[in-house]
């Protein structure tokens, strides 16, 4: 009995091995370079026609896949798409915006990747550099006309537009209406307020934020005229930390510790988030991503743009633009671009984005939509967005964050003077650049 069972198992395993080996006789399609891809130009013969985007007709029998990070959105966007293109099947998968590019790197060549995906704008350049995204060559003029200028800059890489801007985000000043009747207008007023309000022993601080996160701190340097990567923010040789403007901004930034006198390691997101949600912080600096949490906590709060600096300028913050991109692995480039266009421009789609994710659309028209105009918080974010620059997207930006943050920490904790800190950051940045360029 036992023996026959053994025999049967051995036979079965032997057979399965044989079949698995025969399977290798079939040629692996993915190991061969693909010839099929994307001949978008067949339908539109010349570049001059490219401005008439409306005439584009999606490919016969196309089916598309979209990656975005919200299930509710994904479910309903299919309905909106199918109203216009009932014949084109759209499938959706939940993929985080910051993970999408890396996932496409592996899934794309295997034929599993999305046709259309939504990524933050600083991923666009690296993806364009490595050939992952298609250029939106048929929509160049349309995108330039229909979206906020800052947002268009964010999706332009080396003069070419690689995505539709979808939504914009930047940081702003949030205040608790129970503790503050009229929000301050300048940093001097904030300093005055902090003098009377701060009580470190009982964790009472006028203003809380991630003080040494470069994303939050950059605006103060830029408000003093500091230009990261030159005037167009795309010249990797001009990190400009040795300019007098950067130094001035850094010196001012060091004085902000009077307002929030805690060590850099302790000025965390958790501290900001929990103190404001508990109604114990009059002001915090954060972005629209905090709105839902704060609403849930029941705090009555308002949002305004950041106070002006002593030189009269607004802090020029970094902004992030979520963008809709088309994979270069797609078989249906035109249908994909039409989907991207719809996601970024269609009012129903933008309303859906607002309802599910509370995001501020990048399209010019959207600021006229009722649901944006009447929102309690987003108009202030939009205002600060006008004072912002898109976070530089050149690949060298990834070498900036660590030294930049280190400089803020060193200054904040008084480990180094602003001058020393900026010089050290500059050295670190340059050495990483050299090793990259070799």
């Amino acid at each position: 009995m036992k023996k026959t069972a053994k025999k049967a198992l051995a036979l079965f395993l032997g057979a399965s091995l044989l079949t698995s080996l025969t399977a290798c006789g079939q040629k692996e399609a993915s190991s061969k370079p693909e010839e099929s891809s994307t001949s978008a130009s067949e339908t539109s013969a010349s570049a001059s026609e490219s401005s008439k985007a409306e005439e584009l007709v999606p490919e016969e029998g196309a089916s598309l896949k979209l990656w975005y990070d919200n299930d509710d959105y994904n479910e309903k966007i299919v309905e909106i798409w199918n109203q216009k293109y009932p014949d084109i099947e759209l499938t959706v998968e939940k993929v985080g915006t910051t993970d999408a590019r890396a996932k496409l790197e592996t899934d794309g060549p295997a034929g599993q990747g999305a046709d259309v995906l939504i990524v933050p704008h600083d991923h666009v350049s690296v993806a364009a550099e490595s050939g992952l995204f298609l250029e939106m060559d048929k929509f160049t003029n349309e995108i330039k006309e229909k979206f906020k200028k800052n947002a268009v800059d964010a999706v332009t890489y080396k003069g070419k537009i690689y995505a539709f801007p979808l939504s914009v985000k930047t940081i702003a000043l949030f205040y608790n209406k129970a503790l503050v009747s009229e929000p301050v207008k300048t940093w001097d007023e904030m300093r005055e307020f902090a003098k009377s309000y701060n009580d470190p022993k009982n964790n009472k601080f006028a203003l809380l934020w991630q003080a040494t996160d470069a994303y939050f701190a950059h605006g103060f340097l830029a408000g003093y005229g500091y230009q990261i990567f030159g005037e167009n923010h795309d010249d990797k040789t001009k990190i400009n930390w040795d300019t007098p403007e950067a130094l001035k901004g850094m010196e001012f930034y060091a004085t902000l510790r009077d307002i929030y006198p805690v060590a850099s390691q302790d000025a965390t997101w958790d501290a900001m988030n929990s103190m404001f949600s508990a109604g114990q912080a009059p002001y915090v600096i954060t972005g629209p991503w905090s709105i839902k949490d704060f609403e849930k906590s029941g705090v009555d709060f308002g949002v305004v743009e950041l106070p002006t600096l002593p030189n009269g300028n607004h802090p020029i913050t970094f902004s992030t633009v979520d963008t809709v991109c088309v994979s270069s692995f797609t078989k249906y480039p035109i249908a994909s671009m039409l989907l991207a266009q719809m996601i970024a421009e269609n009012e129903d789609a933008l309303k859906l984005l607002y309802d599910t994710k509370n995001e501020l659309p990048a399209s010019n028209e959207a600021s006229g939509y009722d649901f944006i105009k009447n929102d309690k918080y987003l108009p202030a974010v939009a205002k600060q967005f006008d004072y912002s620059i898109p976070m530089p997207y050149i690949p060298e930006m990834s070498n900036v964050w660590t030294p930049y943050a280190k400089a803020f920490v060193a200054v904040w904790d008084k480990v180094q003077t602003p001058e020393e800190a900026l010089k050290a950051a500059m050295d670190e940045f340059n050495s990483s650049l050299n090793s990259t360029l070799k």
Binding site: S16, V415, Q416
Partner: protein, 433 residues
């Protein structure tokens, strides 16, 4: 010509023909099927290995939204490795085929009859049964374990890095040992590397020993005859182990927050301290906090293990010692400790290797901070593995990250092997013997 030689040569040309000459038709069919399969696979194997050697030749062509895909070096590399496995499998089958023909030919030379298929089959299924059962696992191990390791290893010998060598737009190339040379030549890596390596070693040694001997101490206390409610204490102390480490670490990070954390807030409001204790802001303090937290996370494992060993110590042994007049101290030093060490020492080495690469504790507790102005892309508490992570994630220097993981591997592997070989548990079958 001897029958064995002839059978061998026949099998070397047409697989299974030697077996046929030996009169083993069933085996002959199996081997011949193997050769047919090889003919089918041969173009793929060649393509795969060619791709692995060249890493692609055609570049991607981009013309606006019109894209012609070229070769993707990474994909070529992965499939190249896979086909290499297949090729090796065929080679082994081929060698086995010849050896089998020769072996049975010798039997015939000696005037004996080779096994009939039925006999051979029952011999195989009887004796080689474990191999058959293991075969699917071995294949899976090759695809899901060996392949990724090999892939990560090979990256060190390429120029896979931002910004100019990222597929699919660009091809990557083999550069030999260039990256290893760069690693030691660039002062930027060198300064930081020395400091980070030193701290990594200190961290691995101290954290392993605190957890090990801390666990021993707790196990002794819990098992002491004078302690009541043993089960209760044991359950309490095992709790830190039962919680997901990442969650505990994030909670600890907030607890040790210098301004808002409950520890400092309490101390401040109880008027014990004026100034905040810089738990995570001071390099030395942060390291101490890391050790404390790691101890909390790590000791229950050893405690549970050692409690197990201690309960298995025969009570007659201890009783006899007591009758002979041994004190509690003697009992511990001469009986408990050697027996516990004997069975847990190998774990000490495993734990050392684990701590050397303990990404979670550092990353979630301090994220390598506080800053160290003299380091590049690393903070005061970064260990090698978190530094490698930062380099790869922020800077996309995959080739450098791979070089460093090879170095980490060499360090850990050599220390572990050395220790394993010297551990008594691996030398002696039976300690009492």
């Amino acid at each position: 010509m001897k029958k064995s030689t002839r059978a061998g040569i026949m099998s070397a040309v047409v697989w299974g023909s030697g077996q046929l000459a030996n009169g083993q038709w069933a085996k002959a069919i199996i081997f011949f099927a193997g050769q047919i399969m090889l003919l089918f696979c041969f173009p793929s194997v060649c393509d795969g290995i060619y791709g692995l050697v060249t890493l692609g030749e055609t570049k991607m062509v981009i013309n606006g939204s019109k894209v012609t895909m070229g070769d993707n070096s990474i994909i070529l590399m992965i499939f190249g490795i896979l086909w290499l496995f297949v090729a090796v499998a065929f080679l082994l089958l081929y060698i086995f085929n010849i050896r089998d023909a020769v072996k049975n030919g010798r039997l015939r030379d000696a005037g004996k009859k080779p096994l009939r298929f039925k006999e051979w089959w029952s011999k195989i299924t009887d004796r080689s049964f474990p191999y058959f059962v293991l075969l699917p696992t071995i294949i899976l191990v090759f695809v899901f374990v060996v392949l990724p390791i090999l892939f990560g290893f090979l990256i060190a010998f390429t120029n896979y890095s931002a910004p100019d060598h990222l597929p699919p737009k660009n091809l990557i190339d083999w550069v030999g040992f260039q990256n290893f040379a760069d690693m030691f030549r660039l002062p930027m890596w060198n300064d930081t590397f020395g400091g980070v390596l030193l701290w990594t070693v200190i961290w691995a040694v101290v954290s392993t020993f605190t957890c090990f001997f801390g666990g021993l101490l707790m196990a002794c206390l819990v098992n002491s005859r004078r302690v009541r409610f043993k089960r209760f204490w044991r359950s309490i102390y095992i709790l830190p182990w039962a919680m997901p480490g990442m969650v505990s670490l994030l909670i600890f990070r907030n607890m040790f927050n210098g301004q808002f954390g409950p520890i400092n807030t309490f101390l401040r409001q109880a008027n014990i301290i004026e100034q905040n204790i810089p738990w995570l802001s001071d390099a030395l303090m942060a390291k101490i906090v890391i050790f404390i937290v790691n101890f909390w996370l790590g000791f229950p494992y050893f405690m549970a293990m050692m409690t197990g060993v201690m309960t298995s110590i025969p009570s007659e042994l201890l009783e006899a010692a007591r009758i002979d007049g041994a004190t509690a101290k003697d009992e511990f030093r001469k009986i408990t400790l050697p027996l516990v060490l004997y069975s847990t020492a190998p774990l000490l080495i495993m734990s050392f290797a684990g701590n050397f690469n303990n990404f979670n504790v550092i990353y979630f507790l301090t994220n390598g901070n506080p800053i160290n102005p003299s380091y590049k892309f690393a903070g005061s508490t970064d260990i090698l593995i978190t530094w490698i992570y930062k380099l790869t994630k922020d800077n996309r220097q995959f080739q450098m990250a791979s070089v460093m993981s090879i170095l980490v591997f060499v360090v850990i592997a050599s220390i572990s092997t050395f220790n394993f070989l010297r551990t008594r548990a691996f030398k002696e079958e039976d300690m009492m013997g």
